[in-house]
């Protein structure tokens, strides 16, 4: 389609420029944080990636549910694309988190609700991706993947609630938090949302590429199947399977 031929290369350039602009804003425009100084600048990438990973995880569950209802392979492809991209963003969160935590909290890692849930999320993404590679049956694979995607999604709030009940030391939410004093500087907030936009654009481009790869793979499988069927039909049929189709 011509729109695709123009839209996606343009989107790729926009995403790249937006990421670069976000990088510039983070290092040269964002105000200095009064207690944490330079290290606080990792906050923009960290939080934006976390939100994007959340969007991706939601997309995984949604495409799983849509696949189970509509049985359209395109939803399965979207699920694969969202999970792989979300996995990358979750990994970014898990790497930038400790880099920020070490100088501020004095430790690399602490088992508080948000860290632990993010890690559980990462583990479930990994299991989801492995499940896809380990199930050979192409008919069954998307169903099983969809089921696991939904289950994992349902589980995240449960994990978060359980851990928050017993342990917790993460800073309370600065964006939508209940505490009016823990506000975010307007400039910081603007740059955070700007960075989030950049990561979302990157996410969209990556997801689209991954989706296309999966679509091409699906088309190849179909062609191969057609070829197998036609070459089989040309040969004398040995025995018709009962009930096979």
């Amino acid at each position: 389609m011509p729109t695709n031929r123009i839209f996606w290369p343009a989107a790729r350039i926009v995403a790249a420029l937006w990421m670069a602009a976000a990088g510039y804003a983070i290092f040269f425009v964002a105000p200095d944080e009064s207690t944490m100084h330079e290290i606080q600048r990792i906050f923009y990438i960290h939080v934006a990636s976390a939100w994007t990973a959340g969007v991706a995880f939601f997309a995984v569950a949604l495409s799983g549910a849509l696949y189970l209802i509509k049985r359209d392979a395109r939803y399965d492809w979207a699920g694969i694309a969202a999970s792989e991209t979300g996995f990358v963003f979750t990994t970014v969160v898990l790497i930038t988190g400790p880099i920020w935590a070490k100088p501020i909290w004095g430790i690399w890692w602490t088992w508080d609700p948000r860290l632990t849930s993010t890690f559980v999320l990462w583990l479930m993404y990994a299991a989801y991706l492995l499940l896809g590679t380990l199930v050979d049956d192409p008919q069954r694979r998307p169903i099983l993947r969809g089921i696991y995607g939904i289950f994992a999604f349902v589980n995240v709030p449960l994990v978060f609630m359980t851990i928050r009940w017993w342990r917790g030391q993460h800073p309370s939410p600065v964006i939508a938090g209940a505490d009016p004093k823990s506000g975010l500087d307007p400039a910081m907030r603007a740059i955070l949302f700007f960075t989030w936009g950049a990561t979302l654009a990157l996410f969209a481009v990556l997801m689209r590429d991954r989706y296309r790869l999966e679509a091409i793979r699906g088309a190849t499988d179909d062609l191969r199947q057609q070829f197998d069927d036609s070459s089989q039909a040309a040969q004398p049929v040995i025995a018709a399977r009962p009930g096979g189709g």
């Binding site: 499940l131 380990l134 169903i143 289950f151 449960l158």
Partner: protein, 257 residues
């Protein structure tokens, strides 16, 4: 190529010489068409009967769990004080591992003679098949826990007699929380390669809330003086309900051919 089974009852059980008993209870339930309970009960009793003919699964799992509890004694000093601190987590890790191993054959057993197709052909709702198996797995894991807790109390010098009702309640809710997703994932991994590794990989992250809530509840009960783990029980019950709802919704997709 074996022909499709004429009657689902003929191939219901993988154990030989069992068709007479299992078909009795089964045919009586087929008249109830797609209603949930008769089918659920038929699957449950078939699972239990198959298991109690050999008791393979129960014996193997109990010995495995015992080995885990035994080996944990080397990772810390099993005095009364230390046990109270670390024991509950140890106990639930043992249950979790035992459950993971025990759930593996729940659907795999049906593959040997392709009996799952027979179950699907039978006039039983897919959710009844899933829940019947879940209930059977619950019974097996609960028996293992009932065997293991006294041994744990003796090994680790913890007194459980006074808090037994509370502990039973925690075990009941915790075990449900393990077997509901566990049975679903055993059906998911039955078609996968490396399923022995994949099942724990899928299951254990999902069981994180169960592990935390059950461990903390058990720790509250075993503390001195014992506390009633109201919040833990609520969380466990909530997780059970969420998992059960998801199971009922997903059963049709899970068991379709």
């Amino acid at each position: 190529m074996s022909p499709r089974p004429q009657s689902a009852a003929e191939s219901l059980s993988t154990a030989p010489a069992s068709s007479s008993t299992s078909s009795d209870s089964f045919t009586s339930s087929t008249s109830a068409s797609l209603s949930l309970w008769p089918g659920l009960w038929a699957i449950f009793s078939k699972e239990v009967r198959t298991e109690f003919r050999t008791r393979e699964l129960l014996v193997t799992t109990a010995v495995f769990a015992l080995t885990v509890v035994f080996l944990f004694s080397f990772s810390f000093d099993p005095t009364s004080e230390e046990s109270r601190r670390i024991g509950p987590g140890l106990l639930w890790i043992a249950f979790l591992f035992a459950g993971t191993l025990m759930l593996e054959p729940a659907f795999l057993r049906e593959q040997t003679n392709d009996t799952l197709s027979a179950l699907r052909l039978a006039p039983i709702a897919p959710s009844a098949i899933l829940l019947g198996k879940t209930l059977a797995n619950f019974l097996f894991l609960a028996i293992t826990e009932a065997l293991l807790i006294p041994v744990f109390a003796v090994f680790y010098n913890v007194s459980v007699a006074a808090v037994l009702p509370g502990l039973a309640l925690v075990c009941l809710l915790g075990t449900l929380g393990i077997v509901i997703p566990g049975t679903i994932f055993s059906a998911v991994t039955a078609h996968a390669r490396m399923r022995e590794l994949l099942l724990p990989l899928l299951l254990l992250p999902v069981l994180t809330p169960i592990l935390i809530a059950a461990t903390e509840s058990t720790a509250a009960l075993l503390s001195d003086p014992p506390e009633w783990p109201a919040m833990g029980l609520k969380l466990l019950a909530g997780a059970d309900i969420i998992f059960l709802t998801a199971a009922c919704f997903l059963a049709d997709s899970l068991l379709e051919e």
